[in-house]
């Protein structure tokens, strides 16, 4: 076996920096995905038909095509179409945020529909306006039900973020490749960032559990 981890030691700071680079765009992508996903979910359960069609079509397109394709289209075609030289960072946020919102909207829609219909009736009977009812009564209860599914989506997003390496964004994955080609040894750097990805996901999992426990207080 030809293994020598000592060789990657000088590159460790370079690779660790990738954590921050990855987290930075994952964070914004999750925020974008959550906000857009909530709006799309409200479109889907709402009574305005064009909005419902829009949300359904949106979901169908973003779930129906590969994420890597969406990323490439955003990164390579926006400069071609508009002349705006979009950065890998912004492309990554857009591609992952838009893609994730399609999945999140489905999760939230299911969560809202799983809230007892009586909750809505009770709110209506009290004269509570639709917006306030959704924000304060229905969504908090839906959130509790869908937290595991939502956490799952965030974990997937964090892991799949590795494909931004294909547009030259210097994330964890890309850095492992850079180190690999520098050293002519790939296994060690790849294993190293693999470990980091695993730690990130474990961190997210623990965070999710803590959050879930807090929401369960009312049970």
């Amino acid at each position: 076996m030809n293994l020598d981890f000592s060789q990657i030691v000088p590159y460790i700071p370079f690779m660790l920096e990738g954590i921050w680079v990855t987290l930075k765009f994952v964070f914004f992508a999750i925020i974008l995905g959550a906000i857009l996903g909530t709006i799309l979910a409200l479109f889907k359960i709402g009574s305005i038909k064009p909005l419902r069609w829009f949300a359904d079509a949106y979901t169908s397109i973003f779930r129906g095509t590969p994420l890597i394709l969406q990323l490439m289209i955003i990164y390579y075609s926006i400069p071609q179409l508009t002349g705006y030289d979009i950065s890998p960072f912004l492309s990554a946020i857009l591609a992952f945020g838009l893609n994730s919102s399609a999945y999140i909207s489905e999760i939230i829609r299911a969560g809202i529909q799983a809230v007892d219909k009586g909750q809505m009736e009770a709110a209506q009977a009290l004269g509570i306006p639709y917006r306030a009812m959704m924000k304060d009564i229905i969504l908090p209860q839906a959130l509790k039900n869908i937290l595991p599914a939502l956490m799952n989506e965030f974990i997937t997003l964090t892991k799949e973020s590795a494909i931004v390496s294909t547009i030259g964004y210097l994330d964890l994955m890309r850095r492992a490749q850079v180190v690999g080609s520098d050293l002519f040894r790939n296994f060690e750097p790849l294993l190293f960032v693999g470990l980091i990805y695993w730690c990130l996901v474990m961190g997210l999992t623990v965070l999710g559990r803590l959050f879930e426990r807090r929401l369960k207080l009312s049970d």
Partner: protein, 240 residues
């Protein structure tokens, strides 16, 4: 207070309410009784438009409920509703359940809303539960909180949709006591119930529905002692 004229309700081809006309006057307590599937609950739910009537009109304080949407929210604020399955907001404490709507809908200040909520909790005998979450309450306690929540909006009319049907037998009384108390205080009430005792003792009027038709509408004493129709006699024989 509330006037119902030629009310029809269809679910698909199923006609649930047929040509119902009646009136509830201010301060009156009306019991709505009848066999299951007779349309009692649907009738009650038409009064605050949780169900939209297929035709006919519901007029509250001179305002037709089939008007534009804004008005409906305003009118609903004047009509409290208590459900069979309570429908308390599970993620809010008892006190928050009571203060949420007054603060959000009527713009009451928190201190005022809480003060009123505490008074109401005292009235339904649950002062010690204000910080509890609904899941820790018994069915009877939940329903008393639900009544207090509706009262917190200071409604002019209270609708009760089988308020004791989902309760264990030993908890029925505590809820009925609260309702009797409320009736005594002069609240206008429409109560769909299977509690014939309540209908007989507390109600000023009894409405008997069968197969979506208003069959009898009269004083409880007359209705229970000498029902005019065969259908009401049949029903009473089965339940009493």
């Amino acid at each position: 207070m509330i006037k119902v004229e030629k009310l029809y309700k269809k679910f698909g081809s199923n006609e649930v309410l047929k040509d119902i006309s009646t009136e509830i006057k201010k301060g009156e307590v009306v019991s709505i009784i009848g066999p299951s599937g007779s349309g009692k609950s649907t009738f009650l739910r038409c009064l605050n438009l949780l169900e939209t009537p297929t035709s006919g009109s519901v007029i509250v304080n001179g305002q037709d409920l089939s008007g534009p949407k804004k008005d409906i929210q305003k009118i609903r604020q004047q009509i409290g509703m208590v459900f069979q399955h309570f429908h308390l907001f599970p993620h809010l404490t008892v006190l928050e359940n009571l203060t949420y709507a007054p603060m959000k809908v009527k713009g009451e200040k928190k201190a005022l809303a809480e003060e009123k909520a505490r008074t109401l909790l005292k009235r339904v005998g649950l002062s010690d539960k204000e910080k509890a979450y609904p899941s820790s309450l018994s069915g009877g306690q939940k329903q008393r909180v639900a009544i207090a929540r509706a009262l917190a909006m200071e409604p002019e009319l209270m609708l009760f949709d089988e308020p004791t049907s989902a309760l264990d037998p030993e908890m029925v009384k505590e809820v009925l006591e609260v309702m009797k108390d409320l009736a005594k205080s002069g609240m206008t009430m429409a109560v769909v119930t299977h509690e014939m005792g309540f209908a007989r003792e507390v109600a000023d009027r009894v409405i008997f529905l069968d197969h979506g038709v208003l069959v009898e509408d009269g004083q409880p004493i007359e209705f229970f002692n000498s029902p005019k129709t065969e259908r009401a006699r049949d029903f009473l024989e089965k339940v009493l």
